[in-house]
């Protein structure tokens, strides 16, 4: 369970261009649920995701993971926490050019120094599961948008995290690929993953698989809709 308590986030604090990205956020995100943050650009969705995922720290307030404060962890522990608990899918996928699909997928596991052969097999299994095994040895530069996203998801799953954080995952995809993405997400939830996403896309936040939609505006939570438990 992830809890946010009185979380504020300001950028350029004390300067003329100060931005209050998040204002007094109090929120509890349950396990094994799909939560979507929606709202216009600049509403604070992405900032909130970066705080939850330990990619940045709040200006004030606390973030807790399973009851333990994570927002004040020193960087060394925060990096370990990110590796073990969170998988990230970025809007532009952030795949690393110049190396193969398989190497991109294996990359987040390298700091844990696993044995190479089992890691390679695990990465191949993930690509198989996401229906792109034939792309394993290709450079990422030649992938289509949908394929790149699947590689990004495989990469997010390589360390077997309990939470997947996805920022605008369907922003660069057509309708058919967006539907395929939702199918993958549904499967991940069945596997016991917690999914936290941001999206402008009504196809995402209106999807039946989504458990909770949180509407944001100007750094505030303005509305919450929790659906009846999905089958």
């Amino acid at each position: 369970m992830i809890e946010l308590k009185k979380v504020f986030k300001q950028y350029h604090e004390g300067r003329i261009n100060e931005v209050r990205a998040l204002v007094n956020i109090n929120l509890t995100l349950k396990k094994d649920c799909i939560t979507v943050f929606k709202g216009p650009s600049g509403s604070g969705k992405t900032t909130l995701l970066t705080l939850i995922g330990g990619l940045s720290k709040p200006s004030s307030g606390r973030i807790l993971l399973d009851g333990e404060i994570i927002s004040n962890l020193p960087e060394k522990f925060l990096a370990a926490l990110r590796r073990e608990h969170f998988g990230f899918v970025f809007q532009r996928f952030n795949l690393i050019r110049g190396i193969s699909v398989l190497e991109n997928v294996m990359l987040p596991a390298y700091p844990m120094a696993p044995a190479h052969a089992p890691l390679r097999q695990k990465a191949k299994d993930l690509l198989e599961r996401l229906h792109i095994p034939e792309k394993a040895d290709m450079p990422v530069d030649v992938l289509s948008g949908g394929e790149a996203q699947r590689v990004a998801i495989a990469r997010a799953l390589i360390n077997d995290p309990d939470t997947i954080i996805a920022d605008e995952p369907t922003a660069n995809l057509d309708s058919r690929l967006a539907v395929q993405f939702l199918q993958i997400i549904e499967q991940l939830r069945k596997d016991g993953k917690t999914i936290i996403m941001t999206s402008h896309d009504p196809r995402i936040w209106q999807a039946r698989i989504v458990d909770r939609v949180i509407d944001m505006e100007d750094g505030h939570i303005v509305e919450e809709n929790e659906k009846v438990a999905n089958p």
């Binding site: 709040p58 004030s60 404060i69 004040n72």
Partner: protein, 336 residues
Amino acid sequence: MIFHTPILAMILASVITSIIVLWSAFFALKVVRHWDITSGHARQLTLEKRTYLVTTALKFVLALELFSLILFVTNADQMAPMFTGAMCAVGVLNVNEYGMPALLLKLAVFFGASVWLILNHADEQGRDYPLAKHKYALLTILAPLVLITSLIQFLYFYNLHADVITSCCSRLFVPEGKGLQASLSAMDPMSALYMLFISFGLLVLLAFWLRGSKRNNRFGRALFGPVAIGFFTVAIIAITSVISSYIYEQPHHHCPFDILKWQYGYIGFALYIPLFTGTAFGLAAGLMSLFPTPSSLLEAYPRMIARNITISAVLMTIFMAFILLAIGRSHLILFG
């Protein structure tokens, strides 16, 4: 002032160190006054974020200070041919009234910086900055010392003039002279050796006893710090009064700096490096024992203290091994 490359390097290093330490000291005061790990207040979060930057910068400059001590002494030794009357570092340090105080202050900074770095290492093992307040409190004491040392060192270098006729070890480290150097040289060699071996025995016995005793023997562990300092003092006395004579194979040559020269196989480094680092680890173990065990390091913290004690005892043993080697290799017969 003599524009010598190592001098310029040391001045540059001390300026960088002083700036970073001064900036860190202001931050340290804020930590000492306002640190509250349970708070989610913006000020606390700012302190938590900034401590990473401050610590990284401090680690760099304080490590620089450790090497600066070695450079300071070796440079003084190498500059001896520039001054009339100087044969080793002692003569160069005596060119003006700032040399010896600069050396003593740099020694103090060496120990302060070492202890701070060891304490910081322990702090970095905890998930909640368990020793932050202690290490920044220590920094508020260390910072003025670093600044004064930089100033005195600069005054020493600034007032180095090649036309000065100086006194060297053959005039200062003699039993007939006056001052601390003369007193150290005048110490009875047999008594000095007894003191050295007895204090080493005490230190090793204490280390063994602490290894075997209960994990939370805070008093015993805290005692290790003063014992390490005591052994260090006795060791310096012994080196000056008797060990140096064995190394030079001359009963009346007591200089503790000449042993750093190549003519004596740089044995001074083999003696001083384990002695100084061993003392630093012992001091750190003693200091860490004074603090309550942090809740986030319940298991690890006592282990860290025990490890520091072991490292200290091992380094002191290495020091003693070189002492025995120096005595064993010598053709000088002082007793019997």
